[in-house]
């Protein structure tokens, strides 16, 4: 509340201005809701169990960590361990091994989904784009062993 003194003329001016601008702003709001009401395509609700077949998740959805693999099952991982260091709750263990040439390559990429919070920091930390966040979300299981995963199918090429 301002306590400044204003002249009657000024007061009436402000009053009339509010009489016009108030209803105008209300009409602006009403036009938005009317647009939404008459446009059923805008509805974002998914009828989940019924539309299981056609359900497509949004790109920004973060499921569990998956390894990017080509058609032969080869991955891009170099076992540098950046993801393991980036992970805030130690859900990733990168077990390196040596190939025939004696070079350090990926042996096993262990992923403990039970403690993962799907924060996506590992994906951001990876310098080679070897891992990404999956689009799957139906993981419920009765045994904790189901959440201990090995992500890579083959050893890394280095």
């Amino acid at each position: 509340m301002s306590t400044e003194k204003i002249k009657t003329k000024e007061y009436i001016k402000r009053y009339l201005k509010r009489c016009v601008s108030g209803p105008y702003s209300l009409l602006c709001g009403l036009s938005v809701t009317l647009r939404y009401f008459f446009n059923p395509k805008r509805i974002v609700t998914e009828q989940y169990p019924e539309n299981k077949k056609t359900l497509k998740m949004h790109n920004r959805f973060r499921g569990h960590v998956v390894m990017v693999e080509d058609e032969n099952g080869e991955n891009l991982c170099t076992a540098c361990g950046m993801c393991e260091r980036a992970c805030p709750n130690a859900s990733i263990n990168v077990l390196a091994t040596k190939n025939i040439a004696g070079k350090k390559v990926l042996g096993k990429y262990l992923y403990h989904f039970g403690s993962c919070t799907q924060c996506g920091l590992c994906v951001e930390a990876c310098p080679f784009g070897a891992i990404e966040m999956g689009q799957d979300f139906e993981f419920a299981d009765f045994s904790p062993e189901a959440f201990e995963k090995v992500l890579n199918k083959k050893e890394g090429r280095g």
Binding site: L26, L30, T33, I43, Q47
Partner: protein, 375 residues
């Protein structure tokens, strides 16, 4: 004893009750007041009809409210129980029916249980004077508008009783707020209805409807150019406040007062408040329809072929159609606009609505005096 409005069913009862009573033994014939019994039967029929008309739209309104709200917010609303969730309400009512009703510690038990009973009187009494069709009206009072204004007082009485008797600070604040709000907005509400009474030349809802017969531009919203539309908008604003609906729901104001005056109510007592809220919504929409949208008259457009088809549809269908259109407007208001603060609410009434309504009244006189009303 003839009623103000005659209806074929009432005539049938009046004709046939003396005949049926004539089969009784001769020695008690002189003691049977057959005319009074016929009237009594008619009264009971009217009461049942009003109860049905009052309660039947409520499930439709609640379902409609949920769906309208959902679609405005880009949701689907109830979809699981029955096709498109139509059975959701049955489940909700069954839940409320099985809940125990109890008063909190320290509550004034008598007033606490009286409030939900009082709250239902106003909407039912208002329904009695509304003409749903040409003869479909319980009583054509010559003072229907003042009657409606008086009966609306019951609504605030129950709010005050419920809030006071609950022994809860939220409830008390809420009921006092809503008391102040309704006393303020009743003035605007009355003024707008007064304008309609002045234009129509009668306070009886039957005659107000009759004054709008003809084409759709003979409805009061169009008949008095611009003035009618402004009056209709003012009516919507002040009646939204009367109904305690958002954006003027400071009596409930969930974010500030948990549940408002019905915080402490549960089970059927809560359901009564809920029911009254929606019957009130329906009756107020009915009043808007009667006063501004031509009541049961079909929206004829002046072309004979189309008008014949429109007039073929019974009046009650037009009446309910218009009523639900007004209900839809109220729902759009509720889910679009934001709630004003208490002081803003009072400022809106006393600084904006009241002067505008007084101006509208004066312009109504000017319109009548200069004959600017459409013929």
């Amino acid at each position: 004893m003839l009623p103000s409005v005659t209806h074929p069913i009432g005539d049938f009862v009046r004709e046939n009750v003396p005949n049926v009573l004539g089969y009784l033994p001769d020695f008690i014939q002189p003691y049977i007041p057959s005319a009074e019994i016929a009237t009594l039967i008619n009264i009971i029929i009217c009461m049942v009809a009003i109860a049905v008309v009052g309660i039947a739209p409520v499930p439709v309104l609640i379902y409609m409210e949920r769906k309208v709200c959902a679609h405005i917010q880009c949701r689907l609303g109830p979809m699981r129980l029955g096709p498109h969730g139509v059975l959701q309400l049955v489940a909700d009512i069954a839940k409320l029916l099985f809940k125990e009703v109890y008063a909190p510690k320290g509550a004034d038990k008598f007033l606490f249980y009286l409030a939900p009973i009082f709250v239902l009187t106003a909407p039912f009494l208002n329904l009695c004077v509304i003409p749903f069709d040409k003869n479909l009206q319980v009583a054509d009072l010559s003072v229907a508008i003042p009657f409606i204004l008086a009966m609306n007082g019951f609504g605030i009485l129950s709010t005050l009783l419920g809030g006071w008797a609950s022994n809860n600070k939220y409830s008390l604040i809420s009921s006092l707020r809503s008391g102040a709000q309704i006393i303020s907005y009743e003035i605007s509400f009355a003024m707008i209805l007064l304008l309609v009474v002045m234009l129509a030349g009668s306070a009886s809802l039957g005659e107000i409807t009759a004054s709008q017969s003809g084409h759709f531009w003979d409805w009061w919203i169009f008949k008095a150019p611009v003035l009618g539309l402004l009056a209709f908008i003012m009516f919507l604003v002040s009646s939204t406040a009367e109904l305690n609906r958002a954006p003027f729901d400071i009596a409930e104001a969930e974010q500030e007062l948990t549940g408002g005056f019905h915080t402490e109510y549960n089970g059927m007592a809560f359901a009564m408040f809920y029911l009254a809220e929606y019957i009130n919504l329906f009756t107020t929409s009915c009043i808007a329809t009667v006063c501004f949208l031509g009541g049961y008259h079909a929206p004829t457009i002046g072309i004979l072929a189309i008008d014949n088809i429109l007039n073929f549809v019974p009046g009650i269908v037009w009446f309910l159609g218009k009523t639900f259109f007004v209900v839809w407007i109220y729902m759009m208001f509720r889910w679009t606009f934001v709630r004003p603060r208490v002081d803003q609410l009072m400022a809106l009434e006393w600084k904006f609505l009241l002067p505008v309504n007084l101006l509208l009244l004066i312009f109504g006189v000017v319109f009548l005096a200069f004959g600017w009303i459409l013929p």
